[in-house]
């Protein structure tokens, strides 16, 4: 059943509508799957299509309610705009919104009110166009205790527990977690593209989550990936010091040794180059996708092999 969660009149002959599709069978729990907060992140589009398609075909296995919100920022998705078009505003800095507020605040508030009370909410983000990411779930430290066990059910490669930053208090995930709706933030792939394999990986994760929550009767017939769980201290950041055009010399998702050349920043005018080296040994889980870099541009993130905390 398709319902409108929030709507707001635009200037000329059109309404902005945030919609969801509800799949229901039996009286079990409810989970919500949301994506499309950032209009340039599309990996979630394929993933939620797969989930919807799979549930429709196997509705008898479902015991409970699955709400799918494919586009929290429909205007952004329809116009390749990360934020809300015309507002220069990152929607993920407006939650929990305000029912008496502006258009963005009203819409964000209605979304939070609608998702509230779900057993779990899965918020699917892709990376931006600059970086490629291995499938991961990001959890702020203060919610780690309740969320890490859920994240482990999601068939992802790793879980990053990070310090909570004040500025992140306006995200959908923080807003929901602070009112007791457990919310997992998934990051994967790259902006403006769809990697089908990642969609299937996430489908399996969500079906497994349903099974573990007692909302799916059939035991999944695949092996669920056991993610590496790590803390901030275990993540090494590689930023470019040079400016120019980055080309990588290693494979994304591979293991690198400290000091290895990950790639080079080229100067096509002088035909010179600057090597970019790994700051620690470990798994290359983030890698630069968009070639043009300035000093400071993030080139890679490495999950250190040494146990740190």
């Amino acid at each position: 059943m398709i319902q409108t969660v929030a709507e707001n009149e635009l200037s000329v002959n059109e309404k902005l509508k945030i919609r969801k599709n509800t799949y229901q069978n039996g009286k079990g729990k409810r989970i919500s799957i949301v994506t499309g907060t950032h209009g340039d992140e599309l990996e979630g589009q394929f993933a939620v299509w797969l989930v919807g398609d799979y549930i429709k075909k196997n509705i008898g296995c479902l015991n409970g309610t699955v709400d799918i919100y494919p586009a929290l920022n429909p205007l952004g998705i329809d116009s390749i705009t990360r934020g809300i078009p015309g507002f220069d505003l990152d929607m993920n800095r407006v939650f929990p919104g305000f029912s008496e507020g502006t258009m963005a605040e009203c819409v964000c508030n209605a979304i939070v009110e609608d998702i509230k009370g779900s057993e779990v909410c899965v918020d699917i983000h892709a990376s931006n166009i600059y970086l490629r990411e291995l499938p991961q779930i990001r959890i702020s430290r203060d919610t780690a205790e309740s969320l890490v066990p859920l994240a482990k059910m999601m068939n992802i490669d790793f879980v990053w527990v990070h310090e909570s930053a004040t500025v992140l208090r306006s995200t959908l995930a923080h807003s929901l977690n602070s009112i007791g709706t457990k919310t997992l933030v998934v990051e994967l792939g790259v902006g403006m593209r769809i990697n089908k394999d990642l969609g299937y990986q996430l489908l399996n994760g969500i079906i497994n989550l349903l099974y573990e929550l007692g909302m799916w009767s059939e035991k999944p017939d695949f092996e669920v990936r056991q993610p590496i769980v790590s803390f901030d201290g275990a993540v090494g950041f590689v930023n470019s010091d040079a400016s120019g055009v980055f080309v990588s010399d290693v494979e994304f998702g591979s293991e690198v040794e400290k000091g290895d050349v990950i790639g080079r920043v080229l100067n096509p005018l002088t035909a010179e180059s600057e090597p970019v080296k790994a700051v620690c040994s470990g798994l290359l889980f983030t890698l630069r996708e968009y070639p043009v870099v300035y000093g400071g541009s993030l080139i890679a993130r490495i999950l250190s092999r040494e146990e740190e905390n």
């Binding site: 009149e9 200037s11 990360r82 220069d88 502006t102 004040t166 208090r169 930023n239 043009v292 300035y294």
Partner: protein
Amino acid sequence: MKKQIIYSLKSPYRENLDVIGFTFGSGEKSACIVGSTRGNEVQQMYICSQVVHALKKLERQGEITEGRSIMVVPCINYYSMNIGKRFWTMDNTDINRMFPGYEFGETTQRIADGVFRQVQGFKFGIQLASFYQSGDFLPHVKMMKTEFSQPEKMLEFGLPYALTRKPRPYDTTTLNYNWQIWETQAFSVYSYGTETVDEKASQVSVDAILRFLSAEGIVRANVKPGYVSRIIEENTMQQVHTEHGGIFKTLVKIGDTVYEGQVLGEVYNPLDGEKICEVKADKCGTVFFIYNKPLIMQNSVAYKIVDF
């Protein structure tokens, strides 16, 4: 006057981004004035250029107090200004959401870090800020309410209104907020206009800044007396929203006194010209803000009214 490059960044193909700072006087770091951090803040840069102009003259006349120094940074992100973008050229991030910055971080974190090192440690910080909502408003000065802030100091600007703002999560990465955290009394001065240069409005801001610097004994400038301002908490202002989207027409002007229930503006159907709704004041007061575009959405802030 000393002109210096306070921060420099290399780009793949453009000339370096050299952020320029002008220093007047010497000794105690008394005041720092920062202009545009975004590519569309032309008016904010222009106001700073006029402050530089005025301070040059005062310095020549020996009217900068002995042992006091002032730094002016008119424009941080002129890379974006030169190509007609508001945010950072490459990744569209906002430098004014990156403070205090991070030396080893992303490009705009590095710019914020490099600039912040130079603009911190002053007794007073003044930022020429632009409004995130599109509209006209009365000139005012604003201060973030922290444990450290002294809102009474805002009165020295002599602008019609002085606002205090309770910081929201997304305010914590602005220059203004971080100045306060590092114990600089920080003010944001809001002038009419952003993408256009408005001479009259610019003069109002320049006068206000010189008035403040004079009141603090940092310069001796001859400025005409300002307003007796009042301190108002920003969130006590009445916000008037539109009930429908369409073509917006205002019936009142900025600074007008309005009464309870007065029709302030109207929204028309953009296709057939029928009036869809009226926008009314909930209580009496002075019109502080008016939305200034012809097209308006439902639930937009059309007016802000301040209690006289």
